[in-house]
């Protein structure tokens, strides 16, 4: 029990629980606010990275498509080159 009390005291100091006394009993309750604030920060930055990295994917694809010479088809990746539909080699058969 002393060990448990010590741990609860640490949680109280960290602002994660609050404690009240009632005779010989001490009630501990979880403080939601600090937990919620941290969860919101994590969620906000997760969304930020998710959006940014999706945009990064599109940016990298566009940059690599632009770097690719339009008149070279021999070793191009298996991605349809939608940006230049009028390319002479496209319909060659």
């Amino acid at each position: 029990m002393p060990a448990v009390s010590r741990h609860l005291k640490a949680l109280e100091r960290a602002g994660l629980i609050s404690r009240t006394r009632s005779g010989k009993l001490r009630m501990s309750r979880i403080e939601a606010a600090p937990l919620r604030e941290a969860a919101e920060w994590i969620e906000r930055y997760r969304r930020f990275w998710d959006t940014s990295l999706t945009r990064l994917d599109a940016h990298l694809a566009a940059v690599q498509a632009a770097d690719r010479p339009t008149d070279r088809t021999a070793h191009g990746p298996a991605i349809p080159d939608d940006e230049s539909p009028g390319k002479p080699h496209d319909k060659e058969n």
Partner: protein, 162 residues
């Protein structure tokens, strides 16, 4: 704080060679094309990049649809390995969206080769100290104590004063 575990861990493979992906993070013209929410804009004349250990990356984010917002970002770079690593503390200030205070947050991005000319990003982020450490006790310490408490005891909601 730096030895603590990051609160955000993201591992993501992108379909481009490592050098190009690294450039997307360290060249202002590249970064402006993808950083942040859709609809933002990073004015080129307000971008100032000096990518090296002890250097910095600075820019401003504006939002044409929300003229009241103006987010200033300054990353003080601590560790930089060309093509491999960016680690630093981002200072976010300016006219921020409702509910967001100016803050500092450490970000670390590692760039790793993957098969077929792709790159794996390992992103780590540490939340501002005041968020994760509401008092003098650190967040992680509190949780490790909680773990220990739950391991060693009945799941008590009431303990008896001794």
């Amino acid at each position: 704080m730096d030895s603590d575990k990051p609160q955000i861990v993201i591992s993501r493979v992108v379909d481009a060679p490592r050098e190009l992906v690294y450039r997307a993070f360290t060249d202002p013209d590249h970064l402006a094309a993808w950083w942040g929410p859709i609809g933002n804009s990073l004015p080129r004349e307000e971008m100032d990049f000096d990518v090296r250990p002890g250097g910095h990356q600075r820019w401003t984010e504006v939002f044409p649809a929300q003229p009241g917002l103006r987010v200033a970002v300054r990353i003080d770079l601590t560790d930089v390995v060309d093509g491999e690593l960016l680690d630093g503390v981002a200072h976010v200030t300016g006219q921020l969206p409702e509910g967001i205070e100016p803050h500092e947050t450490r970000m670390r991005v590692e760039f790793h080769d993957e098969a077929d000319g792709r790159t794996r990003l390992e992103i780590r982020q540490w939340l501002p100290g005041r968020v994760v450490g509401p008092a003098d006790q650190g967040w992680n310490e509190a949780f490790s104590k909680l773990d220990a408490t739950l391991r060693n005891a009945h799941p008590v909601a009431v303990d008896v004063e001794v």
